[in-house]
Amino acid sequence: MSYQAKGLQAWLYQRLTGAFMALYIVYFIWVISFSESMTYTLWLEWFSHPLMNTATGLFIIHLAVHAWVGMRDIVLDYVSNDSLRLLTLACISFFLIIISLGMLRIFFSLALTIQA
């Protein structure tokens, strides 16, 4: 999503990603709190299920998009100097891309461990 992402699009993405993440988190907490004993093997098994696998991958991407819209909103409100604003936005997007790529990398290496 670019700096010029249209208002409606950004607003809509923020809500859709928020709704998805809320569902994911509720499900996640529900499973964690109701499973008798969560062992590493069970954990791997749970995450290797195709649905959970896809959902978690999506969660990471959704998190990045959601954070981008939110952070962009804050910057557009509070950083009034144009060049400083551009710099801040560039730093935030760099940070978010690196963080989510890192998370995806860890996640997929986990998926590979399961297959191996």
Binding site: Q4, A5, K6, G7, L8, A10, W11, L12, L76, D77
Partner: protein, 232 residues
């Protein structure tokens, strides 16, 4: 009764300052505007503020009263904590004392084209509406443009040039909701982008301060919903 009032005369003062006034023999139920007029007439004729109708219709005497924007003419001094601290509406350039420059506010108002745009030939007699269509304009047309809402809005403080502000957006919805208006697509197109409409984060200061009890946040929500509907 004690008053602390913001004073600034660009011709003589380098910086604004707060001045105290003590007013005695105030009858219960006195409106703040009348108290200010008494201060002006009895104690300090240099005190400047706008006012006109005195009954909450013209919207001239919007000011910041004990930290909350409101109209002096419909605010009773009885319930106010003393000293009553009066400042100009926040975030706007001060011309003198409580008189602010409303140019930016009117520029944003003008930008939403607050008039009916009709493309069909105009009917010879009158535009007709059903009572239901007319009902949709209730809570929208009553705005008196006092500026209390927009100057209470943090988003308007941060981006007064780019963000339309609650007052202008309420009027935008007033015409979008009007069955006679035929420029829905153009109006929505004009509001696109991250600034004009979407700087609103539903802070709702506008709803809190509106002396006419209108709800700009709700109107803005309607505009967003209509945009979404049009996109789908």
């Amino acid at each position: 009764m004690l008053f602390t009032i913001y004073r600034f005369n660009p011709e003589t003062d380098e910086t604004p300052y707060m001045q105290e006034y003590d007013l005695s023999e105030i009858k219960p139920g006195t409106m703040l505007r009348d108290a200010l007029l008494r201060i002006k007439n009895e104690q300090d004729e240099s005190l400047s503020f706008r006012h006109s109708c005195g009954e909450g219709v013209c919207g001239s005497d919007g000011m910041n009263i004990n930290g909350t924007n409101g109209l002096a003419c419909v605010t009773s001094v009885d319930g106010l904590k003393q000293p009553i601290i009066i400042r100009p509406l926040p975030g706007m350039p001060v011309i003198r004392d409580l008189v602010i420059d409303m140019t930016q506010f009117y520029t944003q108002y003008r930008a939403v084209k607050p008039w009916l745009i009709v493309k069909d030939p105009i009917p010879e007699v009158e535009f007709k509406q059903t009572p239901e269509q007319r009902d949709k304009l209730d809570g929208l047309y009553e705005c008196i443009l006092c500026g209390c809402c927009s100057t209470a809005c943090p988003s308007f403080w941060w981006n007064p040039v780019k963000f339309r502000g609650p007052a202008a957006l309420l009027q935008s919805w007033r015409f979008l909701a009007d069955s006679r208006d035929q420029a829905t697509a153009e109006r929505l197109e004009e509001l696109e982008g991250p600034y004009k409409l979407y700087r609103c984060h539903s802070i709702m200061n506008c709803v809190d301060v509106c002396p006419k009890n209108l709800n700009p946040t709700k109107a803005i929500g309607h505009i967003k919903k209509l945009m979404l509907k049009n996109m789908l």
